[in-house]
């Protein structure tokens, strides 16, 4: 062994030559032994450190995307279904709101607040009163008052017919249908009055007051039913799905109401 060099005071301490480290004994390397684990698809091995507990390490085999998809299919499917349902729910709510808005405008405002007070309610009040005061069959000559009453009743009926023209704001077909019913009511009332006059003046067969009352009530009922049907149709349209189907339903209803009104005349 070569002699160590002399060290003077203040001089740096020389480092230990490399061959001095190599003289220590090398540590025992860790052992890695491949161990076949039965019934396992993973590649596993046992890691045996020089000191410590042997550890079993398993690595999963490499999988393709198909394998990953199969494993995740249920959650992916549920996610897609939820997404589709969300989109459908959004569209449904949006169209429902639009239809509710339309119904509110047409039905709640125009029909109930504008047209009804100006025409439907006065018509109902007037015709109910007219029917209750329908003069009976009498052989007595008509008085001037009676003739004047008849004339004023007809004037009032005609003004109601004009007022019903406001229904065109809501629906042209409904306005047409209601106009038909008002005309039929007026015609029936006039024919009764004429038949009374003929009975009185010329001895013609007396008309049947109960029959006329029944007919007038039926006409009044048909008119109200037409309006009710229109309101019901509004709510039906708002409940059906799909804007195009709702529009086509609306158009079909309009067409059928117009044809029914025409065939009724």
């Amino acid at each position: 062994m070569p002699a160590a060099p002399a060290v003077s005071a203040g001089a740096p301490v020389p480092s230990t030559p490399p061959q001095a480290i190599a003289t220590k004994s090398a540590p025992t390397p860790d052992k890695i032994s491949a161990v076949q684990i039965p019934q396992s698809e993973s590649g596993c091995f046992v890691f045996t450190p020089a000191q410590g507990v042997p550890t079993l390490v398993c690595r999963p085999l490499q999988e393709g995307w198909a394998g990953k998809l199969v494993a995740n299919a249920p959650s992916v499917t549920l996610s897609l279904v939820a997404l589709v349902l969300s989109i459908l729910a959004y569209r449904y709510n949006r169209s429902k709101d639009q239809m509710a808005r339309m119904q509110s405008v047409n039905d709640d405002y125009w029909l109930r607040k504008v047209v009804s007070p100006s025409s439907i309610e006065p018509f109902l009040s007037f015709t109910t009163g007219l029917m209750s005061k329908l003069p009976p069959i009498s052989a007595a000559a008509s008085t001037t008052t009676e003739e004047a009453d008849l004339e004023s009743q007809l004037v009032q009926l005609r003004s109601l017919s004009v007022a019903f023209g406001n229904l065109k704001v809501v629906s042209e077909s409904l306005a047409e249908e209601v106009r038909q019913h008002v005309e039929v009511f007026e015609d029936r009332f006039v024919r009764y009055q004429f038949a009374r006059k003929q009975f009185r003046d010329n001895g013609a067969p007396a008309p049947s007051r109960p029959e006329v009352l029944e007919e007038l009530a039926a006409i009044q009922h048909k008119l109200l039913l037409a309006i009710k049907s229109h309101q019901t149709a509004l709510s039906h349209v708002s409940r059906k799905g799909g804007l195009s189907s709702r529009l086509s339903f609306w158009k079909k209803r309009e067409a059928s109401a117009v044809s029914a009104a025409r065939s009724g005349s």
Binding site: S161, V162, G165, K168, V184, E186, D187, V190, K197, S265
Partner: protein, 105 residues
Amino acid sequence: MNSVTIDLGKYNGPVYTGRSRGEHIREFLALDRVDSEHGEVNVLIPDDTYTVTSSFFLGLFGPSVVKAGSKDAFFERFHFKAPPYLRPEMEGYVARALLQRNLFV
């Protein structure tokens, strides 16, 4: 220019009601053609007429009123010889036809 005379006495008076009845007479008399040719029409309403309702009048003359466009223009072509008590009623019918034509168009 042809003129046409309509005598309502020939059509089961003295009560004239029903829009379909008015439309039927209009079709029978071919008033649409008369309108297109701007012909004059003389309308005779018997003195013993009880009434002419709006439905009958508008069924018979409604399209002519709308085509005329105004009350004056209508009565320029359609000359009515009718009981005096019917005149105001007919003027009211004409006004109604024009009003309903103009409402919300």
